[in-house]
Amino acid sequence: MFDLVSFIPRAVAQGIPLLFGSTGETITEKSGNLNLGIPGVMYVGAICGVIGAFLYEQNATNFVPLLGVLIPTAAALVGSLLMGLLYCFLTVTLRANQNVTGLALTTFGVGFGNFFGGSLMKLTGSEVPSIALTSTSNCFRTALPFADKLGWVGTVFFSYGFLAYVAIILAVIASFVLKRTRTGLSLRAVGENPATADAAGINITRYKYMATCLGCMTAGLGGLYYVMDYANGVWSNDAFGDRGWLAIALVIFTIWRPAVGIFASMLFGGLYILYLYIPSGMNLSVKEIYKMFPYIVTIIVLILSSMRNKKENQPPASLGLPYFREDR
């Protein structure tokens, strides 16, 4: 019998980093910046959180839970903000190619994370190639106190650490801002047709910087969630895997709608771990095939959305293109 009550929380936990990543990337792409550096940004967010938590756990004489949460969070935000600023400086100010810059940031971010991850492991001198930040993780994983008392409802809806709810709230806010506010209208115009937005008096550079940096910070929280909550505070190099790319795939899957992302990320999370729930016996190669589910679904959505060819379902029209006012 398929155990839905244990499956859903795992799918959600699997989906939350993707939700952070895709919300961040959607905001970024709405400004016309195709940030393929998101996997790197999430990686940097994770390692910065680990560094912050590590330093605090090592140096604090008595561990204050509030600081235990705030310090890694701030570290993750600053780390991913710096990545965002770097991306913007290269692509917006210097008008470098966005694809190349993004891929470079991903390579850089993963290398950066592994380097510092390795360094921290050296510092602890541990036998296993990982760092465990148990006290910090416990703070991040604290669920609402009444979750246990509500039976399956509590398990399915209230058993997550606070960052999971932050992810959903951020997606809802992003969706509202994009659809219902002047700022959102301007941001969409920047991504669709920067020349038009510029002529309408919108500061293109500011919008691109703001959207990309906020997007990176959001994505960075995804990395933080992964280490501190999903992985129980255990950092090991390269464990983050391909979640960053999945987050970008999710943006396409949701056709640039953050609110859709809430459900889509959980669906992706579910597909991602579905192989654990499908009895495949000893044949491990079959499991690998099941791991393809999220990607297959993305391809199907791409096919369907390009077949329907509705203008609203297309990527922002100037996605990936630099803008220079006096260009002819």
Binding site: R180, T181, R182, L185, S186, R188, A189, E192, N193, A195, T196, A197, D198, A199, A200, G201, I202, N309, K311, E312, Q314, A317, R325, E326, R328
Partner: protein, 512 residues
């Protein structure tokens, strides 16, 4: 001239792009309650000058005074604050948004973000001046004329009382143009200052009160429209006397060259683009094709050139001996080898035919590289010669042959494109919008070239936008309306009004 305070005074405005001086010490006054026509050839700096008023560019030196006070306009937002609104030649609209969303874009109004209220205000503006648009319609569903209306409403919504229109009639039918002019006159009555940039003399005469002329970035002078005529204005614009008549030599020994029968084409989305189109094109004749943009012109030319999949119908090429070849399903290379060439000038000019990042000889070679025998290497000597000839024959303004085409101004890009097609000695020359956005001088060069081809016995098919030119240049005119032939008229006897009507309804009958 009586003493009036100018709404805008520009003094000694200079602006350069790199080494090119776009505006050199230009002075210009714009008054309220008056329509000023800004005349000049391509590259004479009209648009650049107006872009400085609307905050897109910033002048290198010189001053701008608004109502007598010095103003510093460094961004479009500041231009709006001074009440200046510009309607650009290429519409600045976001396709996936509604008219209302486009109109309020970038505004910082007090209070809640309320699109419903904005739609209401837009409807009020429309009622005041006689516009007809649906504020909730998406831009991609709109016709060109509707989009232009949105642009105008946009600047009015922002409270602009100094309006600049950059070639507003380039894409309109005569009927739509009349409507626009009526609205502009309405606004003039409302004491707004209006500047219209145009090449078309009869529009200047019909609409404007005053004319200012620019030539090669310099201010030449201004005239009252009622005291001048198109010959004088053209001479000021060009700097020397120009004949304004387009030659139309009698066709010499015309023979059928191309037979198109029952052509039907559907777009990928299944929309009928051409519906049972039949006509003949003859050698030594210019066949005009008129129609509102998007009536199937592009599909028709592409079908002839072998680039379109046909649903039904046939296309026959007839050679000098009267032997007909069915080219309906031939591939484009074979059709080209018969001497059918296509030069299509799309709105963005570079989209079809030229590669922006390549220089002139390389672009010439795009047409000839297949003829180089079996050598694996390309031979640049021929294309370089062709490029040099095109540059000197058509007077292309370029720093050198090795300049990437995208660096040239629009008119020069077009000359390169048309020049290359002609250089390949075609038997059928298909041109679409060959003079789109070109100034008078360059346009006449192109007309002359087409007439030369006609005299050589080439069958020229000329898809045009300007009806005045079509009726002066073409021997016969096929009028398309929504993908169907709504009439074939003789260019010598045709009347512009009649073609305009044919463009909007089949057979030209009124039925409401």
């Amino acid at each position: 001239m009586e003493q009036r305070t100018a709404a805008v005074s520009m003094r000694n405005i200079t602006k350069s792009f790199g080494t090119i001086l776009a505006n050199n010490k230009v002075n210009l006054d714009i008054f309220r309650g008056e329509i000023l026509a800004l005349l000049g050839e391509n590259g004479s700096g009209k648009t650049t000058l107006m872009n400085m008023l609307s905050g897109i560019y910033y002048p290198d030196s010189g001053e701008i005074y608004i109502d007598g006070k010095a103003a510093d306009i460094s961004s479009p937002r500041e231009a709006f604050q001074h009440g200046i609104g510009m309607i650009h030649q290429h519409f600045k609209l976001v396709d996936v948004m509604t008219a209302t969303e486009n109109i309020v874009l970038g505004l910082k109004e007090e209070g809640r973000f309320d699109l419903k209220n904005a739609s209401k205000r837009i409807r009020e503006i429309c009622d005041t001046y006689g516009f007809e648009i649906d504020p909730d319609k998406k831009i991609y569903d709109m016709s060109v004329s509707e989009k232009q209306t949105v642009e105008i409403v946009k600047v009015l919504y922002r409270g602009a009382d100094i309006l600049i229109l950059d070639e507003p009639t380039a894409v309109l039918t005569p009927q739509e143009t009349d409507k626009l002019f009526a609205i502009l006159r309405n606004m003039r009555g409302d004491n707004k200052a209006i500047v219209i940039i145009t090449h078309k003399m009869h529009e200047v005469e019909a609409l404007s009160d005053r004319v200012a002329v620019l030539r090669k970035g310099e201010y030449i002078g201004e005239l009252f429209t009622k005291d001048t005529n198109s010959q004088e204005m053209t001479n000021m614009m060009v700097g020397h006397a120009v004949s304004l008549n387009i030659d139309r030599p009698e066709p010499v020994n015309p023979k059928v060259r191309l037979q198109v029968k029952g052509l039907t084409v559907r777009s990928e989305d299944g929309i009928l683009k051409l519906d049972d189109v039949s006509f003949e094109a003859r050698s030594g004749e210019i066949l005009g094709i008129a129609g509102i943009s998007g009536s199937g012109q592009k599909e028709l030319l592409e079908a002839i050139a072998g680039l379109q999949k046909l649903e039904s119908g046939s296309i026959n090429y007839v050679d000098d001996d009267g032997k007909a070849t069915d080219i309906t399903s031939e591939d484009p290379v074979h059709i080209r080898n018969l001497g059918v060439t296509l030069s299509f000038v799309p709105e963005d000019r570079l989209g079809m035919g030229l590669i922006g990042n390549m220089d002139l000889p390389n672009n010439m070679m795009l047409r000839t590289y297949r003829t180089g025998g079996h050598s694996p290497f390309t031979n640049l000597a021929g294309p370089r010669k062709t490029a040099a000839k095109v540059v000197s024959d058509l007077d292309v303004a370029t720093p050198g042959l090795s300049t990437p085409v995208r660096r040239l101004s629009g008119g020069n890009v077009q000359k390169v494109l048309v020049g290359r097609e002609i250089a390949s000695a075609p038997t059928i020359l298909l041109t679409a919008y060959a003079v789109r956005g070109l100034d008078i001088n360059a346009s006449y060069v192109i007309y002359h070239l087409l007439n030369e081809q006609k005299a050589r016995g080439v069958s020229v098919i000329y898809v045009g936008e300007d009806l005045d030119v079509l009726v002066e240049l073409c021997d016969r005119i096929v009028v398309l309306c929504g993908g169907r032939v709504s009439g074939i008229v003789d260019g010598r006897t045709a009347d512009k009004r009649q073609i305009g009507l044919l463009m909007t309804r089949i057979g030209g009958e009124e039925h409401e």
